[in-house]
């Protein structure tokens, strides 16, 4: 992820200044403007050794205890490359270390299993130097393991999210401590991708002897935790990895990730002390917990963005005037406030506000029901029917949207299906519109844009079948642009065009609705759904 380590994105001047600093440090030798985050890591100095310091002074930290997390998201595999589902992303990052890791803001790139790296002036050759580190079984992590892990990530046909790694041409172990990557072309997101949840380093020998299937159930890990037992669809029991490379961590003895589908049950468990952390607590209850002293409501920023998908193949919605009218008919501030009890902010762009190069200045069409009504009338669409797909019949957002669209003369019907049916209809273009959400697994905007706005990138713009060749072109250009300022410009342009075309309607950006018991400390979830469980501690 070249560039931007904060929102708002890096100003060109800052980038230039950092370039100079980076040169001074002599850490990353890059011809193009270097990845800012790497620079920050290099400048971080004091936390290079142990890979970062927790926010609490060490003498106050209470060690031990098993942290219990109640989550609705299922763990489906413990093999890092096999899934890109939320429940797996959340866990895989905790049990496998990557070459790099992210700072507390989820953006800054810090040394991970690699204690440092260099890139050639053309940005095509990257050499990572491994630190002294071991797997949970005590065996040393070597360059061979890194090569093995990246090859299966890139090449194995059931690698679920290998797209970002196709840019890698050659991966060679120079010696047991040094790995060299040769890229097929310049790729701005490359360094950041080495931190991605699925780029965890696995032991070559163990995967080889156990086979993929065995390894996916009882793996040898490289992260803060090892797997004691996995009971599918019930719980994952993790224990502290005593061989973990971050010295003195984790603070906890272990973690239990308990799958609890129903929200009221997760809340009961939290209240009864059977869970220390509950994921996805309903907003109404989040409000109640905010007033309680025995609960912590961190509201960590996520990359979750709520949008209204519009099927551009729908005869009514293919008309841009209708889409514009819909966007103007909605009191998005009001809906956001009502649905999330004021915990979310109204979205102004069609990509998450936590990804790099998000444009805080992007402006969607204003709320103007009068003009919206006039647009619908002039488009001859008064009384037209639009089918909204939803997984929950009383979904408050969909009901509010229905009501406000009715006011401008559109007739919204609500079609309720379950999650499986929802995806079937959406992928098959068999829907009109849908209030839904998505998230970006990494801070880099490339996967976000490919997923949501690019018509030719494999998902037909989140199956809205919106296809603007200009965006397709800009997406490719931005991927290969290594100058952060240039990248920023390209991504801002993409966001502007998508809003102008009303590709979708942005709704809101919401934080994680996680609630902790007050005895949980230093626990954060970054926007890429990664906990810092190794740093967390408890004093119940």
């Amino acid at each position: 992820m070249a560039g931007s380590s904060s929102v708002p994105p890096v100003h060109p001047l800052i980038a230039v200044r950092l370039t100079r600093r980076q040169v001074l440090r002599g850490m990353v030798i890059a011809g193009a403007v270097p990845p800012l985050s790497a620079v920050l890591a290099a400048c971080g100095g004091e936390d290079e050794g142990d890979g970062g310091t927790p926010s609490t002074p060490p003498e106050e930290i209470v060690r031990g205890g098993v942290l219990k997390i109640a989550t609705p998201y299922a763990v489906s595999t413990l093999d890092p490359i096999k899934s890109v589902a939320a429940g797996d992303i959340e866990v895989l990052g905790q049990i496998y270390s990557r070459l790099t890791r992210r700072g507390p803001d989820g953006k800054e790139i810090l040394p991970g299993l690699a204690e440092g790296w260099e890139s050639s002036p053309d940005g095509l050759t990257w050499t990572f130097t491994l630190r002294e580190a071991a797997f949970s079984d005590g065996s040393t992590i070597t360059a061979d393991d890194v090569v093995f892990s990246y090859l299966r990530l890139r090449d194995q046909e059931d690698s679920a999210y290998g797209g970002a790694f196709q840019v890698i041409g050659d991966i060679v172990a120079l010696d047991p401590k040094n790995v060299q990557f040769t890229l097929k072309g310049p790729a701005a997101p490359f360094l950041g991708s080495t931190e991605q949840f699925n780029a965890g380093i696995v032991p070559k020998a163990v995967v080889g002897s156990m086979g993929d299937e065995g390894f996916a159930k009882a793996p040898v890990t490289s992260g803060g935790f090892g797997v004691q037992e996995w009971r599918p669809n019930e719980r994952l029991i993790l224990t502290a990895n005593t061989n973990y490379w971050r010295e003195g961590l984790p603070n906890l003895d272990g973690v239990e990730v308990i799958e609890v589908l129903r929200a009221p049950t997760r809340v009961s468990m939290l209240e009864a002390g059977e869970a220390d952390v509950a994921r996805d607590v309903p907003w109404a209850q989040v409000e109640q917990f905010k007033t309680r002293e025995d609960m912590i409501v961190p509201l960590d920023p996520s990359s979750v963005i709520y949008v209204i998908l519009l099927n551009h193949q729908d005869p009514v919605l293919s008309n841009i005037d209708v889409r514009k009218a819909m966007a103007m008919a909605l009191d998005r501030d009001g809906i956001t406030q009502a649905v999330t009890f004021g915990n979310a902010v109204t979205a102004n762009s069609l990509i998450p506000n936590t990804v790099d190069f998000y444009d805080p200045e992007a402006t969607p069409l204003p709320y103007d029901p009068e003009q919206a009504k006039a647009l619908i009338e002039s488009a001859g669409a008064t009384g037209a029917e639009i089918e909204f797909l939803t997984t929950q019949i009383d979904d408050p957002a969909t009901v509010l949207v229905q009501d406000q669209l009715k006011a401008i003369g559109l007739n919204v019907t609500i079609n309720q299906v379950d999650v499986g049916g929802w995806w079937d209809s959406v992928v098959g273009a068999n829907y009109g519109a849908a209030v839904t959400w998505w998230y970006n697994e990494v801070p880099d905007p490339d996967p976000a844009v490919r997923w949501a706005l690019c018509g030719e990138c494999g998902n037909s713009s989140f199956f809205t079948f919106y296809d603007n060749p200009e965006i397709d072109r800009l997406t490719e250009e931005a991927l290969h642009e290594t100058d952060p300022a240039g990248r920023e410009e390209l991504y801002h342009e993409i966001q502007r065009i998508a809003l102008e075309d009303v590709a979708q309607i942005p709704m809101w950006y919401q934080p994680y609705a996680n609630v902790y018991r007050s005895w949980v400390h230093d626990l954060k979830m970054n926007p890429a759904i990664q906990w810092n469980l190794d740093e967390a501690w408890m004093n119940p």
Binding site: A70, A74, S76, T77, K82, S83, V84, A85, A86, D88, E157, D158, S159, A160, Y161, G162, G163, E213, A216, K217, R231, P232, N233, E234, R235, I258, V260, L261, R262, P264, T265, S268, M269, E271, A272, E274, A275, V417, D418, V419, G420, G421, W423, D424, S425, V427, E441, P447, W451, G458, N459
Partner: protein, 311 residues
């Protein structure tokens, strides 16, 4: 001898029924729109990956071919693999069976005991205040949604009072008992009324039956008549109802287990349907069907054993 043959016959009849159910379940599961693979690997996975995984599970083959492959494997003890959790279905199901059987068994016993006591008291005090109260309880219990009741009980006894755990199954028998108490009470409040209403009505009816009148005219004391004639007679005719209730409780596990986060097959069933985990749905349908048939058969066998009029 005749009775043994009857039981064997019933056992044999289970085979075609199970086969029929397996066909229907297989077709129904596949008929629901939704792609399990997209749900499992995540919607952001590329189409190639989704196709690869589909291919691995044989989901690209025609449904009938899939069925025959499945059945062929089943007869060799291979129940297929869970698509969602990538582990053998049989392993997944057997690891979940104990909590559900405990929930079912305990719920049935508790419901029956409570119903027995309430029905007897109500029948003995027909139209009295206690009878009215019991009938009111029965009516309310019948109309109470299980998920609502479960939540309320959990909020009261687990969250507010902290007497019992709100979730899970526990590791030791004592622990299991503590975890199952609230679910059992939930089941009892909903199930006992069915038994109470029927048993009470039968008891009252039998109290006025001719054979009771005959005993009464012989000068037998009222208490003895009730214990020796009215009660056994009424229980016999309610025995078949017990089978129905058992099957009903089995169905309720799908609702109760998620409320109390009990890691049983009921919860697994719900999750597998949401995830379109075909082979787990299929396996569980067969297990539920088998349990249903066993419950019904057990009641029939019991009736055969104790009722001299049958057989």
């Amino acid at each position: 001898m005749r009775k043994t043959r009857l039981v064997l016959q019933r056992l044999w009849q289970m085979v075609p029924v199970l086969l029929a159910i397996s066909v229907v379940a297989f077709l129904l599961a596949q008929a629901i729109p939704g792609d399990p693979v997209r749900l499992i690997v995540g919607p952001r996975a590329s189409q190639e990956v989704i196709d690869t995984v589909r291919d691995r599970y044989g989901l690209d083959e025609p449904v009938f071919l899939q069925y025959f492959v499945y059945m062929g494997n089943l007869f060799q003890g291979d129940w297929g693999r869970s698509i969602a959790f990538r582990v053998p279905v049989l392993e997944l199901i057997t690891s979940r069976l104990t909590p559900t059987l405990c929930l079912l068994g305990g719920g049935l016993v508790l419901s029956t005991l409570v119903a027995l006591v309430l029905a007897i008291v109500a029948a003995r005090r027909q139209d009295g205040l206690i009878d009215q109260a019991i009938r009111l309880f029965a009516t309310i219990g019948l109309g109470m949604p299980v998920f609502w009741l479960g939540l309320v009980l959990s909020m009261l006894f687990a969250v507010r009072l902290g007497w019992l755990p709100a979730s899970g199954f526990g590791d030791t028998p004592v622990d299991n008992l503590r975890h199952l108490l609230l679910p059992w009470v939930t089941i009892t409040v909903v199930m006992a009324p069915i038994l109470v209403r029927n048993l009470r009505a039968t008891l009252i009816e039998r109290t006025h039956a001719d054979f009771v009148l005959a005993e009464r005219s012989k000068g037998m004391p009222e208490g003895a008549i009730f214990l020796r004639h009215v009660l056994p007679n009424s229980l016999l005719s309610n025995l078949s109802l017990l089978g129905v209730v058992a099957v009903y409780i089995l169905g309720i596990t799908v609702v109760i287990e998620p409320i109390f986060a009990i890691p049983g097959v009921g919860q697994l069933f719900l999750n597998s349907i949401i995830a379109r985990d075909y082979f787990v749905i299929q396996g569980l349908t067969l297990v539920f069907a088998l349990l249903t048939m066993v419950a019904t058969l057990a009641v029939d066998v019991l009736t055969l054993a104790v009722d001299p009029r049958v057989g």
